[in-house]
């Protein structure tokens, strides 16, 4: 989608604070047969280290041609295939062992039917016993109240303004660099119960729910959902 294209040049700078997810997803990839599928591959921040560390082929799907172009360039000769597509409606040549969706990318799905389609597409893409792993933040009212409508700077002259629309469980992020505004994208936050519902309708089982990438247990104070689900064997 075009709204993500405008972020492509600076995307890695935005993601610079997030590094702890890489070894988590690399470890899952080590346990799986190739190819690994990544939804919302973006510029390859996760897929490239997976290909480098495991030597396994990665198929990445994303809707932003500009992000994919950056990723393709960075991946060079590594076995990463960047495909333009919609994660609500993707099909693979053959079922796979592992689908991942890192960095809260699932929060770009707006409504229940959108999310349901993603989970059903994932379930259809997995082999029996195959895994689906993703992470998303827990919506914290305390953080939201603190940062709502505040202009925040991150890494040099990058800035963002966060607006919360609780009735639609939505976060509107407007980003820019210096004097330039790069437009807005929207995230829809999801509760634990709704994630459970999406697994339920897709026929996937929870293998683990962690509170962070170090595999600490998820509890009432956790601020990240790190899910590993499995298609019944």
């Amino acid at each position: 989608m075009a709204e993500y294209d405008v972020w492509a040049p600076d995307y890695d700078d935005w993601a610079a604070d997030m590094t702890e997810d890489v070894p988590f997803y690399v470890d899952l990839a080590r346990e799986a047969a190739e190819p690994i599928v990544e939804l919302g591959i973006g510029t390859g921040r996760i897929a490239i280290p997976i290909a480098r560390a495991t030597g396994k082929r990665v198929i990445g799907i994303d809707r932003s041609p500009a992000m994919l172009a950056v990723g393709r360039d960075r991946a060079g000769e590594l076995p990463v295939e960047f495909r333009e597509g919609d994660f609500r409606d993707f099909t693979l040549e053959a079922p796979v062992d592992l689908v991942i969706c890192p960095f809260r990318a699932l929060l770009h799905a707006a409504t229940w039917p959108d999310k349901r389609r993603v989970f059903e597409s994932v379930a259809a893409a997995l082999k029996p016993g195959g895994r689906f792993a993703w992470n998303s933040f827990v919506f914290s009212p305390f953080i939201a109240a603190r940062i709502h409508d505040q202009r925040q700077t991150r890494g040099g002259d990058l800035w963002e303004v966060v607006r919360h629309v609780p009735a639609d469980n939505r976060i509107d992020l407007t980003r820019g660099r210096g004097d330039r505004e790069d437009g807005m994208v929207r995230l829809w936050w999801v509760t634990k119960s709704e994630w459970e519902g999406l697994l339920d309708v897709a026929g996937l089982e929870v293998e683990a729910l962690y509170g962070w990438f170090d595999k600490r247990p998820f509890d009432d104070e956790s601020l990240e959902f790190v899910w590993v689900a499995r298609k019944p064997a």
Partner: protein, 228 residues
Amino acid sequence: MAEYDSWASVYDAWGGGMPDDVAHYVRLAREADGPIVELAVGTGRVAIPLVRETGKPVLGIDSSAAMLDIARERAAGLPLELRLGDMRDFELDEPAALVYVPGRSLLHLRGWAEKRAVFERVSRSLRPGGRFAFNAFAFSHTVAASLDGQTLDQNGVVHTLHYAVGDSRVDISRDGAATLHLWWATRSEWEGLLDVAGLGVEALYGGFALEPFTDESHEFVWVARKPS
């Protein structure tokens, strides 16, 4: 459930801050052409005026015997049948034209599996074209951030709120009573629950004046329908 028994005597005072929902459910009851059921009827806050105004019989189900005792005393002489039961697992003798859950009571259900069980049970208990109506607050980060850890006095009922964000849960504690829990739900999750139960959305209002639900709304007022 026993934890609600310890709140029965103060329940109406505590619920005094609820939006004025009675007229909405009365209107739906007038339009119902067949049996009417209220889940989590409690002390009869909605069911009693509804029966009085419409003259129609209502079956009220609740899991707290102490709440039902209060309702029974107040409903004397009215065609309100009160039944001790669990909304996750109830059976009707004949399919209902209207099942309704006022007062945000569905928020007392823990996790997807319990909610799904209720929605499926409701769907099975409705006649084709029958309606399911309920309301719940839309979670507000500003309300949560200002109330967390606070002790509030609502019409003399002193209680303390704690927000457990990982579980999207509010714990409501009061001296001498069991801690009650609420789990907030998003619009998307309510849509999912209607979806799995095979119910269609007839309307989503943003309040009991039947205003449209918008980005600024604070209450989900749902009217769903079983396909005819």
